[in-house]
């Protein structure tokens, strides 16, 4: 049975690692000290062990382990308390977060080996992991919000890790600001809950504590209150989980180091949004509006992002749109009333998506580029990377019997089951997205690993390569990555192969009961395996793979020819539906800079500044006027005291009666 201290340790260990690196290792041992990596791995490793204990302890417990709250602030009867909510959802998330983070840290040992900011990198990574753990274990919504913002901060730091590159700095800013839009909704939801404290629903309950909120949602909360709160929370989740229309930051976030991308996409940042909605599911459940919104946004995002993945040339961007699309699946599953299935998909997705990113990192480690057009033929030089990438790709495409198949199948199944029109609609969206997913991921596989090598970084930047040899460009050396990177990838490949069925088998399997993971997470009705849907989705996935093989393997028809046929559509997709342009040019530049900002600027200069200047002038001159009294003459002081006293007495005699 896990003790409360151990549970806190899961949060405190990475936090301690962060403090140790930031306060001791970096200042005293220099910015490239290997020790920082070891400290991070050790602390997250121990946190992972405790997470496993947590998972073991929550098995067989329906309810959360009831630890006490710890008072933090109390102002005039409004209590803000902190505590740990240790239920199955928390335990599963803890295992995913610390486990994936651990693997990524090990991989980073190799990937970041020669980076100037080695210690800084591991300090941020520790903070990132700690923040995510903080969200997962929080028992108070305020506590979630604190760590939610810390996740935002650490993702900002990590995406902009190479801050000297303008693109990285811009991407970091974009991620921070776009997710902030959603966070406003989340904050409003918290404030709204706070205002509900005197309503009957929260009689005897604390409106800031999750168990109380969920209880209130099941009982006395008005429909409007539940809908408003749920939609506010969902807004926050949309930002962090890159749901349409707040998805634009995620592809740009590729500017960070690749292990960071893999962590963001697999376990930490984007998973936070899905987790948040799953955590507050009882609140969403009572509001049909909220459920419909979640399902539609999720379904639309799934298909919408997949279409953009079809045409990207940057391998990490392909994967980024794939993540957005897969997050859409998870939201969709929650929206059709199956949060356990969503977390199941999050669970399998974490492994294969992490692996895909690490594979992309490995590829760029060798070729120096992320551009698929300059890769090709790598399977000969990097066989292990090829095999693991292929496994992850098959898993993502949802091919039987890999991990992704099982969870995707359950997502489709939960949508199919529903009798509401919305459910049918989102089912078909998700179903079409299966085809698109298989196509775009195998397009990447064929472009990167098959055919002939097309020159890597030197072909991408021919001019720089010519003028100073290979000096300005990452050197191309086509070879396998170091063992520390490959080992991690192999471990993930095993998980991407088997995690799906082993974690949630159809029938009893060597001590693991059928559907234990989803029922553990609170899904009580069985999702009976539907051969029709499983077969259809596999067939569609295989069709997608086949088409990719035809176009990018056999080149019949050649992609260029297809591109010409679908010319306008391709342009639309390449420009990402012009959404980024809409946000940046129209909303930010035109409306905001030229309209709002200019108006505010005028107001600030002409009204506020004038007023402040006037106030300053008044203050200065009042000060000047009083100052002569401070002559240093003690007689004057005595007179002032006496006169002041008389003034007070006089005021009382005149006004006091």
């Amino acid at each position: 049975m896990i003790s409360e201290l151990q549970a806190w340790a899961i949060l405190l260990l990475p936090l301690a690692s962060f403090s140790l690196i930031a306060l001791v290792i970096r200042p005293f041992l220099g910015s490239r000290s290997r020790l920082s990596g070891y400290v991070t791995i050790l602390s997250i490793g121990v946190a992972f062990l405790f997470s496993l204990i947590a998972l073991r302890s929550t098995l067989g417990h329906e309810d959360a382990i009831g630890w006490d709250f710890h008072p933090w602030l109390s102002i005039n009867g409004v209590e803000v308390r902190i505590g740990i909510l240790m239920d199955p959802l928390t335990a599963v998330m803890l295992v995913v977060v610390t486990g994936v983070s651990l693997l990524v840290q090990i991989y980073s040992q190799g990937y970041m080996r020669d980076d100037e900011g080695y210690t800084r990198y591991f300090a941020y990574m520790s903070l990132f992991t700690a923040s995510m753990v903080g969200i997962v274990i929080a028992r108070s919504i305020v506590q979630i919000y604190v760590f939610w913002e810390l996740v935002g901060l650490s993702s900002y730091l990590l995406i902009g890790f190479w801050y000297h590159r303008p693109a990285a700095a811009a991407a970091a800013k974009k991620a921070f600001l776009v997710t902030r839009i959603g966070d406003v909704g989340f904050l409003l939801a918290i404030l709204y809950l706070f205002l509900q404290r005197d309503t009957p629903a929260f009689q005897g309950r604390n409106p800031l504590e999750i168990p109380d909120i969920l209880q209130a949602a099941g009982g006395a909360m008005t429909a409007f209150a539940a809908t408003a709160t749920a939609l506010g929370i969902f807004a926050g989740a949309m930002g962090k989980s890159g749901q349409f229309p707040l998805h634009t930051w995620l592809p740009d976030a590729m500017e960070g180091p690749t292990p960071v991308s893999s962590l963001i996409h697999a376990a930490t940042m984007v998973a936070a949004g899905v987790f948040l909605v799953a955590r507050f599911f009882p609140l969403f459940e009572v509001s049909a509006t909220a459920m419909t919104t979640v399902a539609l946004v999720g379904g639309f995002t799934a298909i919408f992002a997949a279409t953009m993945g079809l045409v990207m040339y940057d391998i990490k961007r392909v994967l980024a749109y794939s993540t957005i699309s897969q997050l859409g699946y998870m939201m969709l599953a929650i929206g059709v009333g199956a949060p356990a299935v969503a977390i199941f998909h999050l669970f399998t997705h974490a492994f294969f998506k992490c692996l895909l990113f690490l594979g992309a990192g490995s590829v760029s480690h060798a070729t120096g580029t992320f551009d698929l057009r300059f890769m090709g033929g790598l399977r000969k030089d990097m066989p292990w990377t090829y095999v693991t990438f292929l496994i992850a790709a098959l898993s993502l495409a949802g091919v039987f019997p890999l991990a992704g198949f099982w969870s995707k199948d359950e997502v489709l199944l939960s949508a199919w089951r529903g009798e509401v029109t919305v459910h049918t609609l989102v089912f078909w969206m998700a179903f079409i997205a299966v085809f698109l997913t298989a196509f775009y991921v195998f397009r990447a596989v064929f472009m990167a690993f098959h055919g002939d090598f097309r020159g890597g970084a030197q072909a991408e930047h021919p001019r720089e390569a010519d003028s100073n040899g290979a000096g300005g460009v990452h050197p191309v050396h086509l070879a396998e990555s170091p063992m520390v990177m490959l080992g991690t990838m192999l471990a993930l490949a095993v998980l991407a192969l088997g995690a799906g069925y082993v974690a949630n088998p159809l029938g009893d399997l060597a001590g693991i009961p059928a559907h234990w993971l989803t029922s553990f997470l609170g899904q009580h009705e069985d999702l009976t395996f539907n051969l029709g849907i499983a077969g259809a989705s596999t067939a569609v996935a295989l069709a997608g793979i086949g088409l990719a093989a035809l176009m990018y393997g056999a080149r019949r028809p050649s992609p260029e020819a297809v591109g010409r046929v679908f010319g306008p559509v391709r342009t639309l997709l390449l420009n990402r539906y012009y959404l980024d342009a809409l946000y940046e040019d129209v909303l930010v530049r035109r409306v905001f800079y030229r309209g709002v900002a200019r108006l505010l600027d005028w107001f600030d200069r002409e009204i506020i500044d004038r007023f402040v200047d006037g106030f300053g002038w008044l203050s200065r001159n009042t000060g000047k006027a009083i100052a002569p009294l401070q002559s240093g003459q003690v007689q004057v002081y005595g007179i002032v005291i006496s006169l002041g006293l008389l003034a007070v007495l006089g005021a009382y005699l005149i006004f006091g009666r």
Binding site: P71, L73, S74, I75, N76, G77, S619, R620, T622, G623, K624, I626, A627, L629, Q630, G632, V634, V636, Y637, G638, V640, I641, L643, G644, L645, A647, V648, L649, A651, Y652, L653, G656, R657
Partner: protein
């Protein structure tokens, strides 16, 4: 005097005894560092006595004694502990400064301790004559301390403090006489009964005049407008550790007695006092902040800042009617106590950081601090943090203190007072942040590191961490202050 009385007075007796011991030790030893060490460690005795008394009070309630002239209750003990903490930090932080005087080191510590004895008594007295004597015991050593450097400015400071202190004592005595004449007793409890039976809004003009005169006398101690004229000159001229001591301990003791007299003896006319304190609060903070803006000497700047802070704390006295949610304790006085604790930590941190920074340059001008952010990064950081706390920005003690005081004002239906307080805080940022800017942005020709002694670093660490702790976890101290001010409320 019975044995019980000695027991009740044990902390004060220990303090005075310690002062005597320090003087004697100074005579016989050449190792002057030892004197400071004994003065510091000797504080353990009054501390232990105070804690023992707290334990007893916690069980049995207030312990009156010594012919009814004083009472040992949580309120008095709270101030005893605050004064002891301040004295400890002051002794610790003065180590470098005092080593400059070849002679008289023992006297320096002894005067600080004697003055502290007066302050601890002041918080416990419930009788007018004893109040007066305690006040004099507090003030006279302070006047000597202010003149301790024996140069022109310091002597002037000491003399000014002595003269104006005498004037304010005269006003205080005059007020006490009038109140005694009305009530026929010098006991605060008897005065309260007499005032309650009076019937008229102010009982009689004698009580009004007496009250105002006493407020003036105490107002001198706490640097309240219009009795604040001495503050800048004395702060500038006095040795800086003395200024630090004066700015927190003396102010705390002044507020203690002000609360006791006006809440206990003159409580029945409380609403009218509320208006007086509200107006003086606004004037103090506004005048203090406005004049501070033009200062170029950092000690004078902090002197005006002290006046402004007296104004903020007075908000708590004006908010006499505010109660905690369960009605058992007063929000206003509890906020005053909390703020005094927070302010003590903040101001000590600021002053000792300034002592450390200016010991090299020898000048108290703000411009002299230029580039210190690089030359003494840790000390500068503490100073900047303390200034941020003085503005009242989270996560500092100053923020929490202002939050509680202004909250009390809102609960007492004096929203306008809270608004004035907040506006003043905003305006004050101007001159505090100017110092921070000089520390970090202005550059200086000299790049030489400024070193500090272990004792001063320890004093800085204690006070700086205190500011941070109270800013993050105000709960524990608030529980204590709410318990401490229960004695001020009428038993309802």
């Amino acid at each position: 005097m019975t044995g019980h009385d000695v027991y009740l007075l044990a902390p004060e007796i220990a303090l005075a005894g310690l002062a005597g011991l320090v003087v004697l030790l100074d005579l016989i030893t050449r190792r002057k560092g030892l004197v400071g060490g004994v003065a510091l460690l000797g504080l353990a005795a009054p501390l232990v006595f105070s804690l023992v008394l707290w334990g007893e009070v916690n069980q049995d309630g207030a312990l009156p004694g010594v012919f009814g002239t004083l009472v040992v209750d949580k309120f008095a003990l709270f101030f005893k502990l605050v004064v002891l903490a301040v004295v400890a930090v002051v002794i610790l932080g003065s180590a470098d400064y005092v080593s400059r005087f070849q002679r008289y080191q023992g006297e320096f510590y002894a005067l600080v301790l004697f003055s502290a004895t007066g302050m601890t008594l002041l918080a416990a007295t419930t009788e007018l004559i004893t109040i007066y004597i305690s006040l004099e015991l507090t003030s006279l050593p302070l006047a000597a301390l202010a003149a301790f450097l024996r140069d022109e400015r310091s002597t002037e400071a000491g003399l000014k403090f002595l003269l104006l202190s005498a004037l304010s004592s005269a006003l205080l005595l005059y007020g006490m006489v009038l109140v005694y004449g009305y009530a026929g007793s010098t006991q605060l409890g008897d005065i309260a009964r007499a005032v309650a039976q009076g019937g008229m809004p102010f009982g009689s003009p004698a009580v009004l005049a007496g009250g105002v005169l006493m407020a003036a006398g105490f107002g001198f101690k706490i640097a309240m407008f219009p009795f604040q004229m001495w503050v800048p000159d004395v702060y500038e001229g006095a040795p800086t550790p003395v200024t630090a001591y004066l700015s927190v301990a003396s102010k705390a003791a002044g507020f203690a007695v002000l609360l006791r007299v006006f809440y206990v003896a003159l409580a029945e006319v409380s609403l009218d006092w509320s208006a007086l304190f509200a107006v003086l609060s606004v004037l103090s903070m506004t005048v203090g902040n406005l004049v501070a803006m033009g200062q170029s000497n950092v000690k004078r700047l902090l002197a005006y800042s002290t006046i402004a802070h007296a104004g903020y704390i007075l908000v708590g006295l004006a908010a006499i009617a505010a109660r905690t949610p369960d009605g058992s304790s007063g929000l206003g006085p509890s906020g005053v106590l909390f703020y005094l604790g927070a302010y003590a930590a903040t101001n000590l941190a600021a002053f000792f950081a300034i002592i450390a920074l200016t010991s090299k340059t020898g000048s108290d001008e703000i411009e002299g601090l230029a580039g210190m952010g690089k030359r003494a990064p840790v000390v500068s950081a503490v100073l900047a943090f303390a200034l941020v706390s003085l503005i009242g920005i989270p996560p500092t003690a100053g923020f929490m203190g202002k939050l509680y005081l202004f909250n009390a004002a809102v609960h007492a239906d004096m929203v306008w007072l809270a608004i004035v307080g907040v506006l003043n805080s905003v305006a004050s940022a101007y001159y505090y942040l100017r110092v921070v800017r000089v520390l970090y942005v202005s550059s200086n020709d000299s790049q030489e590191r400024v070193s500090t002694s272990v004792q001063v670093r320890l004093a800085l660490a204690l006070s700086g961490l205190g500011v941070l702790f109270l800013g993050l976890f105000p709960g524990p101290l608030l529980l204590v202050t709410e318990a401490a001010v229960k004695v001020l409320l009428p038993a309802a």
